[in-house]
Symmetry: C2
Subunit: 618 residues, 2 copies
């Protein structure tokens, strides 16, 4: 049996695995092809160039890369596992087989696996739990193995390797073992998933031990505080996601998995409340999370500066993991809304059009053309003017790749009553319906039923929150307006029945909450699920977009395939104290209409400046 990226036991909705959703075209098919043809080969090349794969064969003296470089091989293997589950590919299969062999050969007989610790001349095993990332790496190893098991290969060598490593972790960190945990969560959801795949209770128990220890202040206080490693308060006592964003969402995913498998409603409620508060106060309009560069962390409520947005690609991948689990648990449309927003505006933004470079941080405002990344060596910085081919900390490319390869898994769910469509992609879903659409380029989504039913069943379609004005459903010749949330039609469906959902995808202005200080007096432009941006290459004669002001009285229009806004350019003095007794009244030049582009396409036309939030005022 093949299954999705998550397979909870008790949840309200059951995932329709990626094997049962076939994406036949459109936005995500293009990205999946780019992943297969460009991104995965690019990652393979850099794992070779950097020596991070060779670390498994080499002696400790030759080891290269940061302490967590093993995890990149594992995330790459996870991406390959999902991709090979999607369709056969001899070339990628060969890379997969060779890499798994190298990993397996490096495993000690007792199951220990790390290129960074425990060998002659290296620090001993488990000697640096805060920063060493040993358990973090094993967590990603397990996730890769789960992907392989769920795509038809439960006895794969990688699954054996992961189980041996997981067994050692349970032996070492069990109730009588080392009473600590990794500085970077991820093994928590991984162990629950391995339990789901194998039925081994001890993996679930170990995940619970790790979860229960977290927040009891085992790890040291550092400049960033213990919140950095989520060790300030227990998960169930927290009120909002905080600290290092990737750590926060990976841990939350594990907490939801554990709550599901153990029936711990209190834990599920706690994480759900935290998530709701986070979505209301700590998420960028793109879906990105984490506004602090310093500690790659969530800011305080409403601290969402577009120009110093961190919005790490990996944090968004983790945010989708959390939202998907909450969607399964509660059927909350806000979770599916956030997944869509994050996929289109962060996950799709990170890779370059050619699939050979990636954003690590996804700023919403580039003020100045800064350094260009070196093409021949890993970029030492998470930020660059354009996407970089690789990073010294290169967590994001492999995270994008594994998400793209498994994206079909986020499309639909089932319950005893029927089928729920959460994301709209052209293709077939669960053998039950075929979807035809150009979404998000237009808002018309045709769903044709593919089987005759003896009993009535419910087809539920998500109407996104942004589609509050003018969404319609047509069934059997009748059309009516529908509200955001899930619209459900329960019928004795016949093969060939058609449902048409029309979502209003005219471009629209979006206004921020008054407490988001950094974007007061600004609007964003959105169209369907896509956030738009103004890029300097579209403004004649300007390197900077910061003098542009938008006329909020003229709604954005779609013309000739372009989204246009009415703009003017301020004339501002260059050298003076920037605070004055009088309100600024600068002269302005009317620019007429200027085009915006989907945010995910920016920085593909050479160095540029860009902004998502466009001021309407001086």
């Amino acid at each position: 049996m093949i299954d999705g990226p998550v397979r909870p036991r008790r949840s309200r909705l059951r995932p329709v695995g990626p094997d049962r959703v076939r994406i036949t075209g459109g936005f995500w098919a293009e990205l999946q092809e780019r992943n297969r043809d460009a991104i995965l080969p690019h990652i393979a090349e850099w794992l070779d160039r950097t020596g991070w794969l060779a670390n498994f064969a080499n002696g400790p003296a030759e080891r290269r890369g940061r302490e967590f470089s093993d995890s990149e091989i594992y995330k790459f293997l996870e991406a390959l596992a999902w991709e090979l589950g999607r369709e056969e590919n001899p070339k990628l299969q060969e890379i997969y087989d060779k890499s798994v062999k190298a990993v397996a050969a490096a495993q000690k007989t007792d199951g220990y696996l790390s290129t960074r610790f425990g060998r002659e001349g290296q620090e001993p095993r488990w000697s640096d739990l805060e920063w060493g990332h040993e358990l973090y790496c094993i967590g990603h190893l397990i996730q890769a193995a789960v992907a392989r098991a769920r795509t038809g290969h439960p006895g794969d060598l990688l699954v054996q390797v992961a189980q041996k490593a997981a067994d050692l972790v349970c032996d070492t960190f069990g109730a009588d073992g080392i009473a600590s945990m990794d500085g970077h969560p991820v093994i928590e959801p991984a162990l629950v998933e391995l339990y789901r795949v194998t039925g081994e209770q001890r993996y679930l128990d170990q995940a619970r031990l790790f979860l229960d220890r977290r927040g009891t202040r085992i790890l040291p206080d550092i400049e960033f505080g213990r919140a950095y490693w989520q060790d300030e308060v227990p998960v169930r006592d927290n009120t909002v996601f905080h600290g290092h964003a990737v750590r926060a969402v990976y841990l939350a995913a594990g907490a939801i998995d554990l709550a599901d498998e153990t029936g711990d409603e209190e834990l599920l409620d706690a994480v759900t409340r935290q998530w709701r508060r986070t979505v209301a106060r700590r998420v960028y309009v793109t879906g990105g999370i984490g506004s602090r560069h310093q500690d790659e962390a969530f800011g305080e409520d409403f601290v969402l500066p577009p120009d110093r947005a961190y919005s790490e690609t990996c944090a968004s991948v983790g945010s989708i993991m959390v939202a998907w689990r909450l969607l399964l648990a509660h059927g909350d449309p806000a979770a599916a809304d956030l997944i869509e927003r994050t996929l289109f505006n962060v996950v799709a933004t990170s890779p370059a059009a050619d699939g050979k470079a990636f954003f690590y941080a996804n700023t919403l405002h580039r003020r100045a053309i800064g350094p260009l990344p070196d093409q021949d060596r890993p970029n030492p910085r998470p930020t660059a003017t354009v996407r970089a081919p690789w990073y010294e900390v290169s967590c994001c490319p492999t995270n994008v790749s594994r998400t793209l390869a498994s994206v079909a898994g986020y499309v639909a769910t089932e319950d005893d009553d029927g089928l729920q469509l959460h994301q709209y992609v052209p293709g077939t879903v669960a053998g039950r319906v075929t979807v035809t659409t150009r979404y998000p380029a237009d808002g018309e989504i045709h769903i044709r039923v593919d089987e005759d039913a003896d009993e009535p069943w419910s087809l539920s379609l998500r109407v996104p929150a942004w589609a509050g004005d003018g969404a319609t459903l047509t069934v059997g010749g009748h059309t009516w307006e529908v509200e955001p949330g899930y619209v459900t039609e329960r019928r004795r469906w016949r093969r060939g029945d058609e449902v048409v959902l029309c979502l209003p995808v005219e471009p629209r202005f979006t206004h921020p909450d008054p407490r988001v200080d950094a974007i007061r007096g600004c609007v964003a432009v959105e169209r369907g699920p896509l956030v738009y941006a103004l890029e300097s290459v579209d403004v004649p004669g300007a390197d900077s977009v910061d003098e542009i002001r938008i006329d909020p009285e003229h709604a954005p229009v779609l013309r000739g395939g372009q989204v246009l806004v009415r703009a003017r350019r301020l004339t501002l003095s260059d050298e003076d104290w920037p605070y004055a007794a009088a309100p600024p009244r600068p002269a302005a030049e009317d620019l007429g209409e200027v085009p915006l582009i989907p945010y995910h396409t920016w920085a593909n036309r050479g160095p540029s400046t860009m902004r998502v939030w466009l001021p309407t005022l001086c």
Copy 2:
């Protein structure tokens, strides 16, 4: 001969040293007393408690503190030197003597001095120039020695120690020596100043070597870029201050000193241009600099978020060092304006009312009451809800102290034509005038001439840029309006002649440049040189000040000694996606008038939230 903190050779203006300015009361006298009675003893106590002073006597195994902890002893000695130059104080003298003895005893016979390197079990000398801070510490040692020499003790033991260390630096890093420099500038201005004190040409030559090397990419590229240690471009090729803010301004101070002593006009022009551009684009309304927490660095132009302001106290001390040098070089009133603004709103903000705790970072907006600093151990974080008694990196308390002890040195200058008053303090200046004023509490400044002159001379008074509307000068019964800049009266002054400068110190709104995105739609309130703030303790029933909106149609008023603004409080929903199709129109409750406080006094009444920039819009 006693002299000020800087004594350039060729500059347009000559400093009037702190021995020739006697502050007899008012704002700065109070702070100088607080420095003498509370801050200096507090620092002495913590240098004992932390063992940082004992490091000089202890063996390497007992060494405590960070790699730069020696510098805190040196900055403390500099503060003591200025304070003892101001007035005798047996208790502080004893601390000074004891500390200098400890430092001198730790010096190697060849002049090397560091508790962190070069001993048994420590890394060798000069083995970590990037992060080791050896030359940085020696730079502060030299500055302390210069202070001592300039306050009447040119033969002091500390001066001998510093010269021996400086000689070793010249021997080691000279033209034929190690062709590198410290990761943290400060030895550059220190060496020029030591040259000024001793006349030793080699110190000037060594400063030039260090300056010329900087920017040639000797130090490694790191995540923050080489701009972090000012090694991305040569000082003379830069266009704006960038990178780590303290490093930037300490280096700029050295560059101006060097330019002055060598007649290098091109270098002086370059730094002047950088400074002007920085003042126009990268300075907070408080005078604070550095908006990035991550690398304690300048942000890009106009990236000045109040809530993530770093505005390190030490960076402001360095900014004053730069502005003072430029004031001497050019007589530019903008430099004196910035010194005044920075003294009142950053240097005076850092120390608590009791002198026993300090802000390291000086945020302009505290959104939430966060962690309270531990009272019994150095704070691991530069930010805290209230001021912390000490820090693991405790550069700021000693920097505040040395600045307060020498603040009289920034009051006045002379040239061949007369006397220039840049700051207004009650007291006597250069034996030529006596100033009587309650400034900044009110705007009336009386200057009485104290000597009969045979020849006419010029008395120049700074009219701050903010006093553009209604400043008047009264001389000999005549009163007229004066413009910002220097107003100069050239007369054959007689003892008892009086000049009265009236500066308009009604509270006023201040509006930001349209490019400072983070404060669009906001006003600040200023009164004279003081920036004001809204603190939550003054708003009944609110922990947060973020729902408060100010009515910009009602100018702030001064009533009963309080500055009042008209305010309302928004009612905002708590849990929802914070981006909407419609502009926000929240309900609001009229609060009537609410009081603001001088920013420098905030956080003295328990944990609170605060903001300087007050939104007028939703």
